[in-house]
């Protein structure tokens, strides 16, 4: 399958997507932000259709929308019940906007399905380069903030008691989350990018008990999912997203069963 240029590019892009999503996902899960990452992908959809409408690239539109909204969410009330409600409100608004932008623009509807559901054929080598740069940026930010971010994500109250600037960390994290959503949506689509941003991280939690191991397992599951997905999509011509989400869901339930089994033995 590597004889085809588009497959090589899809493979490189997915590898970078899987590494960032697996890494960021560990923190999405420990910060209880699964729901927010779902909303950010919907906002990303609106951003992409906005990009098409005004004639900038869908990726640029996505980054613009997710960045602005993630910073807005970061400055919202930190009270979680209110945050949940505000997030649902924002999410509904953005799905509506996304649909409006698409219907106003002259692009065909296949473009919309690509944004929403992902595609392995739609990606050009220029886009692959953009993805790589963004992914490397996210990884770089994580290396720099690793220690305080881990403290804040796995023990927010302790981090505050130790005098960490948790608000700043939260915004730095949301920015990387916004970028990861925008990157991931290029292959798996904005509707299902949150699969990669939440499930591998959640599965890892049931199997290993240190931060470095959580990251390794999460990145590993994420990579296995996209590689297998790409291969099966190539062979069967079925959508790649279907295979990725099925794989991650199965892994999740296996992880959960393993944890329950271990509790009883």
């Amino acid at each position: 399958m590597f004889g085809y240029e588009f497959m090589r590019e899809a493979f490189i892009a997915s590898t970078f997507i899987a590494i960032t999503a697996g890494l960021v996902g560990v923190f999405v899960v420990s910060r209880n932000m699964s729901f927010l990452s779902h909303t950010l992908s919907e906002i990303g959809f609106a951003g992409a259709s906005f990009g098409i409408l005004v004639g900038i690239s869908p990726l640029a539109g996505m980054i613009l929308f997710t960045l602005v909204s993630s910073i807005a969410v970061g400055s919202l009330s930190s009270e979680s019940s209110r945050r949940e409600a505000s997030i649902s409100a924002i999410s509904s608004l953005f799905i509506g906007l996304g649909i409006l932008f698409l219907s106003l623009s002259s692009e065909s509807s296949s473009y919309a399905t690509n944004i929403l559901f992902g595609s392995i054929v739609g990606i050009s080598s220029k886009e692959v380069n953009q993805l790589m740069i963004l992914a490397l940026f996210v990884i770089f930010v994580f290396i720099i903030f690793y220690k305080p971010l881990a403290f804040d994500s796995f023990d927010h109250i302790g981090a505050r008691a130790a005098g960490l600037k948790t608000r700043l960390l939260s915004i730095a994290f949301l920015v990387t989350l916004a970028l990861s959503v925008s990157i991931g949506a290029q292959i798996v689509g904005s509707l299902l990018v949150f699969v990669l941003l939440t499930l591998p991280g959640a599965t890892a939690k049931y199997v290993v008990h240190t931060v470095p191991k959580l990251i390794m397992v999460s990145v590993g599951l994420s990579l296995a999912g996209v590689w297998l997905g790409l291969y099966l999509a190539f062979v069967t011509n079925w959508p790649v997203t279907f295979f990725i989400s099925t794989f991650e869901v199965i892994a999740y339930f296996l992880g959960l069963s393993y944890k329950n089994w271990k509790l009883n033995h």
């Binding site: 220690k147 023990d155 302790g158 130790a162 008990h209």
Partner: protein, 222 residues
């Protein structure tokens, strides 16, 4: 040493406390008591530099060397990190191998001090209430504090487990001359472990010798 001179704190127009005076010497084990909302946590925040006094003065040697064990933590059954990893969270970032080795030794020493060595691989989510409190204590001891503030750390524990935790704190207090400020609503523990109580009453603070501490001081709203 910590010394307050005419310390007053207001939030806007609302007075929290005024003209608070006290002195805490190195190695003291004191309790901080008074009804909910009387200013205990606010006072502690001023000590830690997280709030600023409205007037008066608080003299304190090294603000950064306070270990604070907060009252609530969000640790559920699925919390993934094991006890050692949880304690490690409070380590500073380093790339130097020498510093790393030193950090590993510090962790080992702290786990021993807090009697957690045997339990270090247990996921914190599956640990008992007493073990969790010990882990919180261990984490706050990581940067070698001279002052330890316990914010109602015994509140949700069984009597026996409470005593074990307090015995451990007492041991640290005696062996390492650690100053302990124990925020509590527990009359028995105040009597058994502390030498003095700082008692918030009528918007100010009274210093009470432990022999004069009475049960009615712990009544809510009292």
């Amino acid at each position: 040493m910590i010394e307050a001179k005419n310390l007053t704190k207001r939030f806007g127009k609302q007075l929290v406390f005024e003209n608070v005076n006290f002195k805490i010497n190195d190695g003291d084990f004191i309790s901080l008591i008074g009804p909910n909302g009387s200013g205990k946590t606010t006072l502690v925040k001023i000590m830690m530099g997280l709030e600023k006094e409205t007037s008066g003065k608080l003299l304190i040697d090294k603000k950064q060397n306070i270990g604070y064990v907060p009252q609530f933590r969000n640790i559920d059954l699925d919390y993934p990190l094991n006890i050692e990893q949880f304690v490690r969270l409070n380590l500073k970032f380093t790339l130097s191998p020498a510093k790393r080795k030193q950090d590993n030794e510090t962790i080992k020493r702290i786990l021993e001090k807090t009697k957690l060595t045997q339990l270090k691989d247990r996921p914190l989510g599956l640990a008992s209430g007493g073990e969790k409190q010990k882990a919180y204590l261990a984490q706050s001891l990581l940067n070698d504090p001279k002052i330890l503030i316990l914010d109602e750390s015994t509140a949700s524990l069984d009597v026996e487990v409470k005593m074990q935790l307090m015995d451990l704190v007492q041991e640290l207090n005696e062996k390492y001359n650690l100053t302990v400020i124990f925020i509590t609503h527990d009359y028995e523990l105040t009597k058994k472990y502390t030498s003095r109580a700082l008692f918030f009453k009528n918007k100010t603070l009274e210093e009470v010798h432990v022999s004069d501490v009475s049960e009615d001081m712990f009544e809510m709203g009292g």
